[in-house]
């Protein structure tokens, strides 16, 4: 891949890019399909049900059927909706979620762009998703959507700050924003140990960024019915759904890379297992945690959400930066 | 014999025990009473006539009689009741000539040892009188009744023997009473609109005349009878346990507003002996305020509020409760059907808000003073008030 990137653009290389992108998209879609399936299964098991079991063996084709249904549905747009924005919103939400995957190193060899500022790229792009959500909320011409959109804006912007702050510690430790370097730097010990405070803040903020329980206020179905996507149906709704899960994929990958040592094995002696297996394993644990939390937690209230971000998470993240800075300086012999 | 009454509070238990011991005496007293009553009745009889006409066909509830009426009625009835054994036979015949419903009634008469519980209170009381004499003679009946009483098993645990005895006596009376009760029913049906049968009517008319007075009298008696039968016999006028409260309310309100604001006051024997007042419509708001604010009344809780259509008038029924005094009070305010108006008590008890709206919605009673009086359950454009007896659904096409 690296060699391809460094070549001069030509028809051949462009074709390669497209094929690779489609491949990644297929992988991601496959993941989304089965993430939804497993989410339903896991939550079902936790709730003493058996989850989807009617379509295909063990219900494995349930999500496929759901997606097919969504794609075949009539495209409904509310009469007084803002036509252009209404169409644009799902794309705005989905595109960045997919674009952030470009910098993810899934293993030593499987990766795409190797940006020096991979982490920054991720954070910057993921911030765009919120635009899609606000646009959707506004363009639907629905009060629930609007409230959901605004909640989402407030929440995502607020939680982005502690999210970014919490990874600064890692950047300080590693001295690089390149995701590959960050993984390589964890050969001795995973970042979750020295950066535990950062990890705690990050995982909470990530949850809020993903709009998932207990921070699912923008779509709180018991309050706002469905929040920003209440007026969406058919494939547009599918785009939002996709964005949510792809974003979860991205966040899972990022956490694995930042805190769990990416494709590195638990112990060097287990090196014979391919890196990608380790990656998937660690990644799956995070995804399972998502489902688990969703089966257990109630939802926060909007004012508590904001004060939690600004009064708890941000100070803790800042303290973490300070602590890391002090430790790093000490190690470098500044004191 | 309501649910509550069956649970033996300590006092009741004691009373029951005492009664059992004094059973023989009680019965003797009863006989004396009857003799006395029959004497008195002959004096009061003339004044009794108009009343029975009122009470028989419309089945006028006791609730609407003044205490004096009640007393008079009782006396008259007592006398007549003695002569009723004979009338019972007649009534049976009348009943047989009636609709199937009536037939069922007479069937019921035939079943032995029919417990008191099946009879309406007034029948019970009436029956009791008639039965008293018979009961003494019927040793066998008493035995049967005893069994019945045991299955009923209410106060089994305390002094079972004495209790059972007392009950057996009561039941024996009740059994004989059944005959009289059936007669009462038959008579009332004949008087009422249920049976269209002219024949039956004619027959029943005779019975009804004799009967109605008795029924009315009996109603008065049920006041005591609801609790336990024996005390009723010992002291026929023993007031309800809530009588002092009623007296208190009446006197407090009369002191503040004068006698005339209370149109009627009585203990509702059918409704767990709740003191019930009928308040003058015009002064209702002031009285309501007083009910809530007065130290001794302090009815701070409005349990229920609703309206009833009695065809000649509308009534609003309030059920208050005082958590301070642990006492209930029912208040009724009457209003005309044409211009129904009852002052709103929404600003006194906020809980009246929706209840008044509901009453307005379904019965069309207006509550001047209510801040937001509009329909609550029905759509805003609904025509008519469904709970009124003359309501016909509005049909746009007609």
């Amino acid at each position: 891949m690296n060699t391809l990137l460094q070549q001069a653009p030509s028809w051949g290389t462009t074709l390669w890019f497209i094929v690779a992108a489609v491949l990644l998209l297929a992988v991601v879609l496959g993941f989304v399909t089965y993430a939804i399936y497993f989410e339903r299964k896991v939550i079902g098991w936790m709730q003493l049900r058996i989850g989807p079991n009617r379509v295909g063996p063990l219900g494995l084709l349930q999500t496929v059927a759901d997606v097919a249904k969504l794609l075949l549905k009539e495209d409904i747009r509310p009469q007084h909706a803002d036509k252009a924005l209404f169409t644009l919103a799902p794309i705005l939400a989905y595109a960045p979620a997919f674009a952030v995957l470009a910098v993810m190193p899934f293993s030593d060899s499987i990766r795409f762009a190797d940006l020096g500022i991979g982490l920054l790229y991720y954070i910057a792009l993921s911030g765009i998703t919120v635009l899609g959500v606000i646009t959707a909320g506004w363009a639907s011409n629905n009060k629930y959507s609007l409230i959901g959109g605004l909640r989402s804006a407030a929440q995502m912007i607020s939680y982005e700050v502690p999210l970014v702050m919490s990874v600064v510690g890692i950047v300080l430790l590693t001295g690089s924003m390149n995701l590959k370097d960050i993984v390589e730097a964890q050969r001795d010990v995973w970042n979750i140990v020295p950066q535990f405070i950062g990890f705690a803040v990050f995982i909470i903020a990530a949850q809020a960024e993903l709009n998932r329980t207990p921070f699912d206020l923008p779509e709180a179905e018991s309050e706002l019915v469905g929040g920003y996507h209440v007026e969406y149906s058919g494939f547009r709704f599918a785009m939002f759904m996709l964005a949510e899960y792809v974003y979860m994929f991205g966040m899972g990958a990022l956490i694995t890379i930042l805190f769990f040592g990416g494709w590195l094995p638990i112990h060097p002696s287990l090196d014979f297992i391919p890196g990608i297996v380790w990656f998937i394993l660690k990644f799956s644990i995070y995804v399972f945690l998502q489902f688990w939390i969703r089966a257990t937690m109630p939802r926060l209230r909007v004012d508590q959400l904001m004060s939690f971000a600004w009064k708890v998470l941000l100070p803790v993240a800042l303290f973490n930066i300070l602590l890391t800075a002090v430790v790093v300086s000490y190690q470098n012999g500044m004191f | 014999m309501s649910d509550e009454k069956r649970k033996p509070t300590p006092e009741e238990k004691a009373a029951a025990a005492a009664e059992a011991r004094a059973k023989a005496e009680a019965l003797r007293k009863l006989r004396e009473q009857e003799a006395q009553a029959s004497q008195e009745a002959s004096q009061v009889e003339p004044s009794q006539e108009p009343q029975e006409e009122v009470s028989a066909p419309a089945a006028k509830p006791v609730s609407e009689m003044t205490p004096e009426e009640k007393a008079a009625a009782k006396k008259a009835a007592a006398a007549e009741a003695i002569a009723k054994a004979k009338a019972a036979k007649e009534a049976k015949e009348a009943a047989e000539a009636e609709t199937p419903v009536a037939e069922q009634q007479s069937e019921a008469v035939a079943t032995p040892a029919k417990p008191v519980s099946e009879m309406t209170p007034e029948e019970k009381a009436a029956a009791k009188k008639a039965a008293a004499a018979e009961a003494l003679a019927k040793a066998k009946a008493a035995k049967e009744a005893k069994e019945a009483a045991e299955t009923g098993a209410d106060t089994v645990d305390s002094a079972p023997d004495a209790d059972a005895k007392a009950k057996a006596a009561a039941a024996a009376k009740a059994k004989a009473a059944a005959a009289a009760a059936a007669k009462a029913k038959a008579a009332r049906e004949a008087g009422g609109d249920e049976s269209g049968d002219d024949d039956a009517k004619a027959k029943a008319a005779a019975a009804a005349k004799a009967k109605a007075a008795a029924a009315a009298a009996a109603k008065a008696k049920t006041a005591q009878a609801t609790g336990d039968e024996a005390p009723a016999e010992e002291a026929p006028k023993a007031p309800s346990k809530n009588q002092p409260y009623l007296d208190k309310y009446v006197s407090r309100i009369s002191e503040a507003f004068g006698q005339e604001v209370i149109e009627a006051s009585y203990i509702n024997e059918l409704g767990k002996e709740v003191p019930t007042l009928t308040i003058q419509n015009e002064r209702w708001y002031q009285v309501a305020q007083y009910l809530r604010d007065d130290e001794q009344l302090s009815f701070e809780y409005l349990s229920d509020l609703h309206g009833v259509d009695y065809e000649d008038r509308l009534e609003v029924y309030y059920h208050f409760y005082s958590y301070k005094n642990r006492q209930s009070l029912a208040v009724k305010v009457k209003t005309s059907r044409e211009e129904s108006k009852v002052a709103s008590v929404m600003d006194l008890w906020h809980g009246a808000n929706w209840n008044e709206r509901e009453t307005f919605d379904l019965l069309g009673i207006h509550f001047p003073g209510h801040k937001d009086l509009r329909r609550i359950l029905l759509p805003d454009d609904w025509v008519g008030y469904p709970l009124r007896k003359d309501y016909v659904q509005y049909d746009e096409e007609v």
Binding site: M46, K143, S222, M297 | S2, P115
Partner: protein, 382 residues
């Protein structure tokens, strides 16, 4: 609806110079958290509720009007459909009213069956409340756990009277069915199971910090307000009034059993949550005693005339339903059909305080407050 709420306020003179506008939000009648077809028109400024107007009647079936043309026996199935979550208490209140008027005597065994049925139903009702309340708060797990355990109760009812929710079980003078063989043991088993399971519920939810923070201090009112608004049941007890009709005006055979009336003084959603949970415990306690003392034999139907004709007059009885004080008023003219039948529905009365509680609250609190009142729309609209 000609109400002032329809005029929203546009604030152009704010200090920031920004033009803000109040918004009317129609919550319901199809909304996941209104527990049925209840509608709330709320005027919101941002997410703060300025005013809330409840609109109801979407489930109004005219039970009271229908009852005027039905015999008392025929009305009983209709009461099942009022508070469909706790139909046993509804059955009971009607039968109790008629029995009070007629002075009927209920056989011992029937009394026990009634009490057991009502208390089981109270547990079932509170379980439904617990599940749906947490669903409102955003946790979906508890709902399914609660419904699993409620299912056991419904199965018990199904065995007892052949229906899971619309029981039509009680009759004037007794109950329709005796307990089938083995039923009492099954009920005993359930009570023991539920006692243990209740701890799990607490483990799952009660200690949850998010949950606690969402409820503490929300929807608060004091005793005076509660009485003024005619609140009853848990709503009243959460303000410190120790008042339970089972204890204070005992009906059925409640005075034979030992149980406490849990009260709290905070008057907020959290207090109401704890009270309902404590009430499940107390109900189980009553059930334990009642099932132990259940008479081994006896009639389940008292001696009742073939045609039920309460004497002319009127009565008003009230009992403790899971939601509060349910009352039944009957005006009789001595016929086999009531002249006027009126139910005092606790959900309807308790709901009155909602607009007051919602004022100035956040939209998220709206569902918590509404949930904590515990309404059943079949009963509100009657």
């Amino acid at each position: 609806m000609n109400h002032n709420i329809l005029t929203t306020h546009v604030d152009t003179s704010s200090e920031t110079g920004l033009r803000t506008e109040e918004m009317l939000l129609n919550v319901g009648p199809q909304h996941p958290s209104t527990h049925g077809v209840f509608r709330l028109v709320v005027k919101i400024d941002g997410e703060t509720i300025k005013e809330a107007i409840p609109v109801m009647g979407y489930l109004h079936r005219g039970t009271e009007k229908l009852a005027e043309n039905l015999t008392y026996t025929q009305i009983i199935p209709y009461t099942d459909r009022m508070d469909y979550v706790s139909a046993m208490t509804n059955n009971y209140v009607l039968c109790h009213a008629v029995e009070t008027m007629m002075g009927l005597e209920i056989p011992e065994r029937a009394q026990f069956l009634r009490l057991i049925a009502m208390e089981l139903n109270r547990v079932a009702s509170h379980l439904v409340w617990w599940g749906t309340f947490l669903l409102d708060i955003g946790a979906m797990g508890p709902f399914l756990y609660a419904f699993r355990d409620r299912e056991t109760i419904l199965d018990l009812f199904n065995e007892l009277c052949g229906a899971r929710m619309t029981f039509n079980y009680m009759r004037v003078g007794g109950v329709k069915w005796d307990a089938p063989p083995g039923w009492i043991d099954k009920a005993k088993e359930f009570v023991q199971y539920m006692k243990k399971e209740l701890n799990n519920y607490h483990q799952l939810v009660t200690g949850n910090e998010i949950f606690i923070n969402r409820l503490i201090g929300i929807g608060k009112f004091d005793t005076k307000t509660a009485l003024d608004y005619s609140l009853s049941g848990v709503m009243l007890r959460s303000t410190g009034v120790k008042w339970d009709l089972r204890k204070d005006e005992p009906y059925c055979i409640y005075d034979r059993f030992e149980f406490d009336v849990p009260t709290a003084t905070e008057g907020d959603c959290m207090a109401r949550y704890h009270l309902r949970m404590a009430e499940i415990e107390q109900s189980l306690r009553i059930l334990e005693q009642a099932l132990e003392q259940f008479p081994s034999e006896g009639e389940v139907m008292g001696k009742v005339p073939r045609v039920i004709r309460p004497p002319a007059g009127e009565t008003y009885v009230r009992i403790e339903s899971p939601r509060g004080e349910i009352g039944c008023y009957i005006a009789s003219q001595g016929k086999d059909k009531p002249w006027r039948l009126k139910f005092r529905r606790p959900s309807f009365t308790n709901l009155q305080i909602l607009p007051k509680l919602l004022q100035g609250e956040n939209l998220s609190n709206m569902v918590a407050i509404l949930g904590s009142i515990d309404i059943v729309l079949g009963e509100v609209d009657c």
